[in-house]
């Protein structure tokens, strides 16, 4: 069953076409990878799905409902959650409060007490329980990323958009986080879209299907290993052989 559907979605910034007539479908509970070099339109695509930007052209459907013009907060209530490439914690709040805010206002809409319990559960899950009373701004970049993951999960989303979540992590953490996301995805039937620039190795372990973006367009789409070894993809990343 199709959870998210994009039809000919386009976003321009002045003369630059950041996202150019992109069609995209995400199935319920699917693990999708979006890869593409810097400037290929990945983050803009996320901003369009989460409602930070409204597309200039095209339509976005979530569970069959047209959400093209829906404000960001209503999309979150429907079940779209995301993390940011550069984490954006609520700095003066504690880790626990940050995650609880996710539970209070996402799809979960929990009361304060209940939200704190949900928060504890996800903080434990991502492995930063000992930091729960620390102010979020004092965390390391990695801890902030884990906190954002917990915060997004506490929203009880149906669609989770991860923006370079794994970038900058060491291989041990990457393995642990991929395992964790896989498990939550299965348990709660969340469709997870993970966007990476360079961590191809990680994406093969995680995604069932991959979309490659290039200059705002969808270059190619298909089964992970097949796509990543496709000559066009290699060309996008490494350039054309000239001699």
């Amino acid at each position: 069953m199709v959870l998210l559907k994009l039809e000919g979605v386009t976003k321009r910034f002045g003369g630059l076409v950041a996202v150019d007539h992109v069609d995209l479908e995400v199935e319920r509970g699917e693990a999708l990878g979006i890869v593409g070099p810097n400037g290929s339109g990945k983050t803009t695509l996320y901003n369009l799905i989460s409602g930070v930007y409204i597309p200039d052209e095209g339509k976005i459907y979530f569970e069959g409902k047209d959400i093209t013009d829906l404000p960001a907060h209503e999309r979150a209530s429907l079940g779209i959650a995301r993390t940011f490439q550069i984490p954006r914690p609520f700095g003066s709040a504690t880790v626990r409060e940050n995650v609880a805010i996710g539970a209070m206002f996402g799809r979960a809409k929990a009361g304060v007490e209940e939200a704190m319990e949900i928060a504890d559960e996800y903080i434990k899950l991502v492995g930063i329980y000992e930091l729960r009373d620390k102010e979020a701004r004092l965390l390391t970049p990695l801890e902030k990323k884990l906190m954002e993951l917990a915060r997004a999960l506490a929203m009880k989303p149906k669609l989770l958009l991860l923006d370079e979540l794994l970038a900058g992590m060491n291989p041990k953490d990457i393995g642990r986080i991929i395992e964790l996301i896989r498990r939550v995805k299965e348990e709660e039937n969340i469709a997870v879209v993970s966007m990476v620039e360079h961590l191809m190795h990680a994406i093969t372990k995680f995604a069932e299907r991959v979309i490659v973006m290039h200059q705002g367009k969808k270059l190619i789409e298909g089964e992970t290993r097949e796509v990543l070894n496709h000559p066009k993809v290699v060309e996008v990343y490494l350039g054309k052989r000239v001699v």
Binding site: A72, H73, E74, A76, F90, S92, I101, G102, F105, M155
Partner: protein, 326 residues
């Protein structure tokens, strides 16, 4: 994790203040003077402290509240004591009207743009009342004679000396309780999130405009009640140049920043410090109080950028008294 313990030190401080006023001869008026500053700080804090948005039109809300009470007492005096009730209703009604009009439009703007948009509100209202000669225009509303005729001089006196003060004390206590209620509920967390990062708050499902508007309206209604009690009832006159004086906006901002924005105890401590300093400096060095006050405030703000309570909270973290400070 509801934590209402910080209400204990708050109520204790209120009680001490009122006790000093009631028991020490000659202290009642100074205490009420200080409580007025506590009140305008607490009311503004609910908006400025919780959202991080600066409302330069703040005093206009005290002003319309003062006019609400003034109009009721002047033109509906035949209602007897009912006129005071009507005054409260009118003050709240005017505040709702103004805050919905200003907030509904301007709160869609971000940070500094909102501040700029609100600057005009106060001056605009003042000139509207003066220019269009509404409710006496620049001559204002003078109530002393009207009240004496309607209620007799004894009761009129009782109104302006006792009822007005009790009214203000009630507002101070209630706005303290409202503040801690907000801090402990979903609305408080929504405001915390949008103050820290409005875009992140949006994608997490928080209707930021709605919550900003709620905070704005609560702050405005309390401000209008302060205007109705501490100005109209107590002074028994309303002059547009007095009730729309932008100086009060600045003072309220200073009190909130000094005490600690977005905290319960902040505007209380800030209001006490500011009020006491202002009162005694105007006694000791009349006319020069601002010259002393301004640099003093700069020093305090430089030393405690998060306000006094923000600083104290940081120092007390991980101690057993931490949960009493909010």
């Amino acid at each position: 994790m509801a934590n209402y313990k910080p209400l204990i030190p708050t109520l204790v401080i209120y009680t001490i203040l009122i006790a000093i006023g009631a028991l020490v001869p000659g202290m009642w008026q100074p205490v009420m003077f200080v409580l007025f500053y506590v009140a305008i700080g607490q009311a503004l804090n609910i908006f400025l402290g919780f959202t991080g948005y600066v409302n330069f039109g703040y005093v206009a809300l005290l002003g319309v509240g003062a006019y609400g009470m003034g109009v009721a007492l002047k033109y509906y005096t035949y209602l007897g004591v009912g006129a005071i009730v009507l005054g409260v209703i009118l003050a709240v009604f005017f505040a709702l009207l103004l805050s919905l009009a200003v907030g509904g439009v301007a709160l869609r703007l971000r940070g500094a743009y909102f501040a700029i948009a609100t600057i005009g509100v106060n001056e605009g209202l003042k000139h509207l009342i003066e220019g269009a000669r509404i409710w006496g225009g620049s001559h204002g509303i003078i109530l002393s004679g009207t009240l004496r005729k309607a209620f007799g001089s004894e009761f009129a006196n009782y109104l302006s000396t006792f009822v007005a003060d009790v009214f203000l004390i009630a507002i101070v206590v209630i706005s303290g309780i409202v503040t801690i209620y907000i801090l402990n509920n979903r609305i408080g967390y929504a405001l915390l999130a949008l103050r820290e990062d409005e875009d992140a708050a949006k994608v997490m499902g928080i209707n930021v405009t709605k919550y900003k508007l709620i905070a704005f309206i609560i702050s405005s209604v309390i401000a209008a009640l302060i205007g109705a009690s501490a100005w109209t009832l107590k002074m028994t006159y309303v002059f547009p140049s007095d009730v729309f004086a932008i100086g009060y906006t600045v003072e309220a901002i200073v009190i909130v920043m000094l005490g600690g924005a977005g905290t319960l105890l902040g505007p209380l401590i800030g209001g006490i410090i500011y009020g006491v300093l202002k009162y005694y400096l105007s006694v000791i060095l009349p006319g020069l109080q601002l010259l002393i006050l301004a640099p003093l405030l700069i020093v305090i703000v430089v030393l405690f950028p998060e306000g006094i309570i923000g600083y104290v909270k940081k120092k007390l973290r991980y101690t057993s008294v931490f949960e009493y400070v909010m």
